[in-house]
Amino acid sequence: MKAIDFDYARPETVEEALELLDRGDIAARPVAGAQSLGPMLNLRLAQPDLLVDITGIAELRGIRIDGDAIAIGACVTHATLEDGRYNDATRGVLPGVAGGIAYRAVRNRGTIGGSLAHADPAADWVATLTALGAEVVVAGRGGRRSVPVADFVLGVFETDLQPGEIIVEIRVPALSERARWGYYKVCRKAGEFSHATGAVLVDPARGVRRAVIAAASGRPIVIEDAEVIQGGGCRPERIAGILADTPLAGNAFEINTHTVALKRAIAQVTA
């Protein structure tokens, strides 16, 4: 199918973009790589009046070290993060996760900010950035604000982004030298969306021990239960309790799949 007739603008500054998006009379949507919105447009699941292409804004395409964080522009592609030609304060986590997203042709266009704004529960960045304790910087006409990713993703395709706002940057805390990372997703085919994702970060020097269950039909679930994170407590009975408030509650197959994903992520950390 073909997309409906929409208008298109390609501003060069954040301010111009926000002005274009601040329209009460029409449905205006920001777009970057269009790797999620493109299919939605072709399937007519999305029918905007105006697309505001933010990939022409130089400020959104940079990666820099800022204090004890790596600040990644919203329009940085997965392929750029995969190739690792930047000062990677996450010690390999970003390139490793980026390289497993969909396929190279998609990674060349798709962006970290777009993925987060789309908020597919199975998306790699939704799970990873939550586990890394990242923050998302959002710009609106009233100014900029910073939100932890864990609070930013509210549900299935649902975020804290308000009408007219765009993501400008993602700030990921630097990992210390002895930090350990584990990440596992259950996919039947390479590159497809995950059926169950487990992510674990153990960074004792910063006092961080965090596990995340994602692709669970809702927002990512942050686990701080030490017994689960060290592996012994990562059992279906315990995971069933953690998933009790999700649509997966009582579904033994889903509970087992998520237990396995998390267990395999934990195994990478404890290996």
Partner: protein, 160 residues
Amino acid sequence: MTHARTITLTVNGRSVTATVEPRLHLADFLRERQLLTATHLGCEQGVCGACTILIDGEPARSCITFAVACEGRSVTTVEGLDDDPVAAQLREAFMEEHGLQCGFCTPGMLVSARDVVLRRPEADAERIRLEMSGNLCRCTGYVGIVNAIRRVLDARKAAE
């Protein structure tokens, strides 16, 4: 054409100026407006890989990239790879190894395979399968395609 825009881009080395609707995706622009029909449309939702082309030398799905977003970019289709040495090796290897039957997926396969050869020169069969997993074929069973890419990688290593 309510929201028509005039764009200028390079297509297979030639500068092209055209007036397009923003909703026109790049694959339709190439096929219907430039009459470059080697780029095939399978799923039109970024899954099958048949429409994979190069934008500024990098593989991309032309069905979920809008032509209007390619202002100033350089687009290369399989027709534009006639004189490309890696593509030439791949075409021959695809024939030798029976890397195609109906040929529908082949243009996208060649573009992705070329990327694997250039970006992953050390790839083994497993890595090739992983890298090529975004291109679907519904008749070869992939064995011939993987063997063709291996043949090119081996030949290039031997020539070093």
